[in-house]
Symmetry: D2
Subunit: 341 residues, 4 copies
């Protein structure tokens, strides 16, 4: 759903050749319906449109012909009602939209970090009277932070200050005007800081007794747009209750694995967090495409005079931060037997 937009195109590209999921239905808004996907879409990604997709007929975003598993790349202005209609009708909606992320009965997943949050789904179905379900992935800048911090959760995260330098592709197409960002920095992205602060707490928190318990850590985000194509770079200062050493942190990054790695999910990176030793890495243009864009790269771990440790993190905002995140979520759900495929 939302298949013709930029995020939708990233889904189409990411799903090409997927061993489990076969793209056979594309939904979009009314004006594209009944057109061939090829004709309804201004393909803007590098490389050609994957084979076979162009001949699919775009359908309206209404349940019926759609398969059980639907990915949602819809604009937040329309996603709420449509996603709920699909879930009510028995579909599993795996959504990249922000609309349901913070709902008390919707999982906000980073499969390596909080796969247990899927336990909320029976409650969601009961609450809502749905035959289907909705699961979500975080905002593109949140996911970079939460994967890096996910590796360090054991140390008792207490305080986090993060500054982002976000790529233009995070704003879609046409997105950011070149008149605004050419040789410039925009020190504001509407709603982004709030999302980073609250989503991170939910993801790093726990689920129990029928509800989410956000991590009781204070998180402060400064979000900026920079003239970079793909890849959100984030500087992170963090303080922990257990006061780990630098070696503890490096060791935790190196050993971090989660359910996707253990179950060898098709889109899982071999290691979700990769530490780069060079003193000037990670860099978005040089590192973002590594590991198919599914890992988060960290580097420059050093002492923070204010909050114990500081480092740099980088992730691919349209892959690990959007389409790839949702596909990995669906793979996790399938590995738990939650999809009727």
């Amino acid at each position: 759903m939302g298949a013709t937009g930029m995020v939708g195109q990233h889904f189409v590209k990411f799903l090409a050749g997927h061993p489990w999921f076969d793209l056979k239905w594309v939904g979009a808004s009314g004006r594209s319906a009944a057109m061939k996907y090829r004709d309804a879409t201004s393909w803007r990604l590098e490389g050609a449109m994957p084979d076979g997709v162009g001949d699919l007929t775009v359908e309206n975003c209404v349940p019926g012909n759609a398969p059980h598993l639907v990915f949602s790349a819809m604009d937040s202005s329309v996603a709420t009602g449509i996603e709920q209609a699909f879930a009510a009708a028995g579909h599993s909606v795996v959504s990249n939209s922000r609309n349901h992320r913070m709902e008390p009965d919707v999982p906000l997943l980073v499969p390596e970090v909080n796969p247990d949050h899927l336990q909320v789904l029976p409650l969601q179905k009961a609450n809502r009277g749905w035959k289907g379900q909705i699961a979500t992935n975080p905002n593109c800048s949140t996911i970079v932070l939460s994967l890096a911090l996910g590796a360090l959760k054991q140390f008792g995260i207490q305080r986090v200050i993060v500054t982002t330098m976000q790529a233009i592709s995070g704003a879609g197409y046409p997105g950011v005007s070149s008149m605004d960002i050419n040789a410039n920095v925009l020190p504001f992205i509407g709603g982004e800081e709030e999302k980073m602060e609250t989503e991170t707490q939910k993801i790093l928190g726990s689920f129990g007794a029928g509800q989410f318990h956000p991590l009781a850590a204070s998180v402060s985000a400064h979000c900026n747009r920079v003239p970079v194509l793909d890849g959100h770079t984030e500087t992170v200062s963090v303080g922990f209750s257990s006061r780990p050493t630098r070696e503890d942190i490096l060791d935790a990054f190196a050993k971090f694995r989660g359910a996707p790695q253990e179950r060898e999910l098709p889109s899982a990176p071999a290691r979700p967090v990769i530490y780069l030793d060079e003193d000037n890495r990670p860099q978005p243009r040089r590192d973002v495409e590594r590991e198919r864009g599914m890992a988060v790269f960290v580097g420059r771990l050093r002492n923070c005079p204010v909050l114990q440790h500081k480092f740099v993190a980088l992730g691919h905002n349209t892959v690990r931060g959007a389409a790839g995140a949702a596909v990995l979520n669906a793979e996790l759900m399938r590995s738990e037997g939650l999809l009727s495929l």
Copy 2:
């Protein structure tokens, strides 16, 4: 001194038409000596070389023919010895080089913030047996931070975390390779974080009983290079002992004035710190040239869940962060009767 390099050119440009200081001597390394400034210099700044300068003959950086007041834009690899030789010979050396900044008897000045640090000069002369003196200005990223924090010093600064997004002009010419920075972020600038952390403490500290007392605040810097031409943008989180309100902070920014404003020094901006109300300002490309590049622009003041307050600051790295800073230092020194002009 160092007149043919990029920082030297900024000095030449900034001094053009100065009401107090007349550029009549230019020094550079041996290979330029005896050439006309015009022939010795690849002029790289926008606009033409100021009238009259081109015909000056470049001299070796040795005391003798030089006037009492000399500005130093020399590379740090050679600055120490030459600056000391000039000071020993009776010159007032106002330096942008980093070499003497952290010396215990050298003032590291931001005229609006710590003009009283000039009190160290008699001690410097006595210690060193110099007839002249050396005064310095901070690193280009430090000065942006220290002016913004200078306005807030009264509230008892305790903890500061700053992330910089620095312009390429900060690295001189040829400086940063386009292969490194085109559509990229470089999350490392050698030595910069250490300079920001220690210089800020010295500037915001006090001078008394013959020595500097650095501010006992913890300062943590993350320094990055971004593809911007001029202007260092900085995100700042800060905690204070007196827990000021947002209104207190805005009021402090609005009312902040220092010696340069009170004495109406020629290069002083009318207000050293200017708060911009728009939610997406300051921006380097759009704001950096305002106020002749001599003010620091701040914006987006909001609550920091970790350290009380956070905001964005922007300053012109080659003007307020280099040539303009040194000229303002010299103006301050003259206003105190410290220059033999």
Copy 3:
């Protein structure tokens, strides 16, 4: 008219402090009408909105309250009818819109090149039954070419091949998506090549016996967008009937003056075409703001093995190519007594 848009803002900025023309009326589309200009406009230019303009009340684009001279910065989708209504009602409409440029009774002016084309105005009034009149300036890429070629018209221009590398500001705001132009070249600008080819012929042609006689030269344009903020750079190969030498060409550039220079019109550059000797100039970022953006800079004159001579030209697309061009047109018209001021 069209005062709140990007081109309109350039008019407002360029007219600030004009010695002849006082901005006292601003027109825009209905949704802005009755608002203060300050409130109706997202000011996007560097520097602040000029004093006084912000308090003007935006009016609908209908004749009546408007002064005799009106500048049109309207979008071409609406300009035709409105400009004609104003001309019919007795106004002098000096337009930057493309709508009337190629009409057989409308002058397409470059004041240094074809001031005699104003002779068509009585015919225009008679044809149209208008009490007022319309005059136009060329497209922003045309004007750079036609000024450079205007200096060489005497040599008998026969064949011209031009490739443009155009700035993003030429497309207005939001204009070009950063997703399209970041670290990229767009080898197509809709309609631009046709405009360059036909407008250049009209401008360099003559007016006589009641009609325009386009120059019988073949002109071929390749138009490209590049990631530059302001300034269209153009590579030009040209062949002449009189086979001038390189020295003839340089001499013609150096001596070129037109009516604006002779009459010392307020916005006239001292020299309309300035040749730069350095082998790597002109460059848009370094040269475009010189001469208030009103001159065209040329350089790299050398032999063209195919068409005799080749060179590079640069002009400021939003100043000399838009607002400044129109204001200079109005100054020319006033100097000829064609405005009822």
Copy 4:
């Protein structure tokens, strides 16, 4: 040879996994000799250094241990003597350096266009008294033009005017200063225009009676640097003696195949020239990596009012314009039995 530089790194990357050629010797200047390639090289390409290469020991560029086939990526300041020494000693030197390109007994190859130029090699050996031989590939901007024109050679090329918009990677590392190219165009690249003009004539010319007969076409080049990472974009106007139609040209592009395609050389693109129908393609950032960077993309074929036809061409300057070109040359030579492997 020259293995540690930027072009050398492109060779190393391009040769990884090559079915015919196994990289087993790396040569560089004296200061790298005896070091592991990993330690001698600042790897700057995207992705990691290919397996196995890092452990090779860098040797001095003297014949002896080197294998029969050596690729030269040496700087032109040193290439002449070293390449000749290797050729004299019996090596086949396939060089990307410019030093020998225009020699009367050295082939300047584009395998799809002039494979017959290899016939000069026996003469070269005889002339020089060498046991080995030297073959070269053109300059990176020449090769884009000559492949596109190679497809059209049959129509009798008479006049060509080309304007390039060249990527920064064409200048190596550190190459172009970001202070020069950030948001700018540099309208000059030293020596580039001369190379494009003369190399194109040699490539498109014939070999017979023991000498090269350059094509008697006039070629005029305007060379510019733009802020693009990889990919040289070129606007081309061309006139032919046989006056082909637009359909003739499109057909020639579509049918163009050469020896590399016929012989299915490993690095040959399926089609050397690919026409893109979209009106705003090819674009460097979006198209340059297609076909492994070995094809030239053309588009926007339209009438040129001056020289019959015009179009846009794009090629990958560090792949098809450098390392890939040399490897394809070596493959061609092997397919002709010219290498002692």
